[in-house]
Amino acid sequence: MKLSELLHIAWEGISRNKLRALLTMLGVIIGVAAVIIMIAISAGTEATIAENIQNLGTNLLFVTQGMGAQMISRSAGMNTSFLSYDDAQAISESISGVSGVVVERDISELIKYGSTSIDSVSVIGTTPSYPQVRDVAQDSGRFITQNDINNSAKVVVLGYNTAQTLFGDQDPVGEKIYVGDVKLTVVGVMDKKGVVGSTDFDERVYIPLTLMFEKYTFSPFARIMGDPVGTILVQVANLDEMEKVTTQIQILLAKRHETTVDELPFTVRTQEDIIATQASTTAAFRDLLAWVAAVSLVVGGIGIMNIMLVSVTERTREIGIRQATGATPGDIRGQFLTEALLLSLTGGLIGVIVGIGGAWLFSEIGDMRTVVLPNSILLAFISAAIVGVFFGFYPANTAAKLDPIEALRHE
């Protein structure tokens, strides 16, 4: 029996009841779509991580305010410790193997030059070693100097895109812009760096950390707390010393904040840790989708098996007629297996289309990077085919084992 004939007979069988066929395929459609989306998310995350590591280097330590349980209890007792500029300087001065320390305190402000304004710009209060530690080059002018810090100078350095948006081709150095309510002089523009993780370096603007404390985050409370900084970035000279430096920072901070390392309200993490945390959120989502995919494929398979069993019963007389005219048990089995396979593969095809559409939606609306891999489409098809053969076999075998005399008598 030729394949084209098998396919033709199977197609006739399915097309007799199109709505039923579509409903039967639903499980496979969802399963296959989930497989494709899952792999697309996974591939997207991996690509992001790879780029991040490449862009950031691996020798940075991030000291941030911790979010542990002890933080909450400390807040309740008003005995909270915050990271301060002094902590950063202490790290810089007393720990060996540190090649640079930078402080970042960020807020969001409207900035304005003439009639052009940009809303919600990330304004970073920082220190002079920022370009070195963050690996951002200077495009024109200069960066913030120690002198600017000491004097709380009203200067600002622009990210590349922000400079382009405000000034176009004009040289911004020396011009005055409003950052929030404060008029600042542009002293420099940073070179292109691009997006790393969730940070777009080219959209940022930089001001002296001390200016940030005085003009933007000033409050009596903040002053009492020692002007908290968001993040201290520590650049380690030698990659092999990452762990050693981490421990030393923890000990130093514990001593400075009169607590123990275990109760330290700060975390010291490498970039990889941070990226891994980001990745683990997507991984959890991906794992969920993997289960959805597996369960849907099994449920889809059972649906196919169910409908094939119904089909075999409904078409018992047809099976008898085919047997009488010379169909062997193998021919009958082949016919129903082909039908099950055609159902699952058609479901697979629709699932692939839905999956590609879904992956696109996730990246457009869900703000999640997705990459549809050709291999995932192949995998999805193979899964669908396996489901079809596995769950189609029992009904097909039931059909093949029918006695022709009984089958012909069936009404």
């Binding site: 004939e5 006739e12 009488a324 005219t325 010379g326 048990p329 193998g330 022709p404 005399i405």
Partner: protein
Amino acid sequence: MSETALIKIDQITKIYQMGHVQVTALDGISLSVQTGEFLAIMGPSGSGKSTLMNILGCLDRPTTGTYLLDGEDISRMSRDQLARIRNRKVGFIFQSYHLLAQATAIQNVLMPIVYRRNGHVSTKDRMELAHNILNSVGLVDRDQHKPTEMSGGQQQRVAIARALINSPALILADEPTGNLDSHSGLEIMEILQNLHSQGRTIVMITHDARNAAFAERIIHLQDGKISEDNHNSVLPIPMTEGGLS
């Protein structure tokens, strides 16, 4: 009797196990049918007609005894082998036609060719062959009609065309006019007689003596045994409708 025996049955029995009771449907039947013969099998219900028909058509195997069809021993064949023998050597005509409702006349006729193992026939040749056979049984311009669009007599003609498509050695008709009015029934019998005159071997099961009258030999079954085996003395019968009604 110079013809070769197409069917040679020797002492076959068929015993069904119904719970604890054994039912003997065929009780030691021996029968030879020559190539080109037209045989009618008659008998009351429960006499074993259907069981004998199923064994002759290779749908079932005898419990004991041997059955040679066209020189091949059917009695011990596997299900696969039986299916292939049915495909090559047997053309069935059933009382209730047994056509696929959703398929056109020509698709129904072509079904046995689909399951043919040897002798590939191109699609164009198949269509032509099926078309010609449909014409030969008196169905003109009905190729694309579905069974539901045809009368009973027309459906039975499609079934006959299907039985003929693989040029089988044996045509087995099981009450071929049972669902038809007398006029259509007569037309079907005329087609069978015509096939017989072309040298086809036909075995027909019937309870209708008027149909049996078309055959050249009539056997009667009673309680799983052959009770009578007569050559039809009234041949040739008058082929008019009046003579049958």
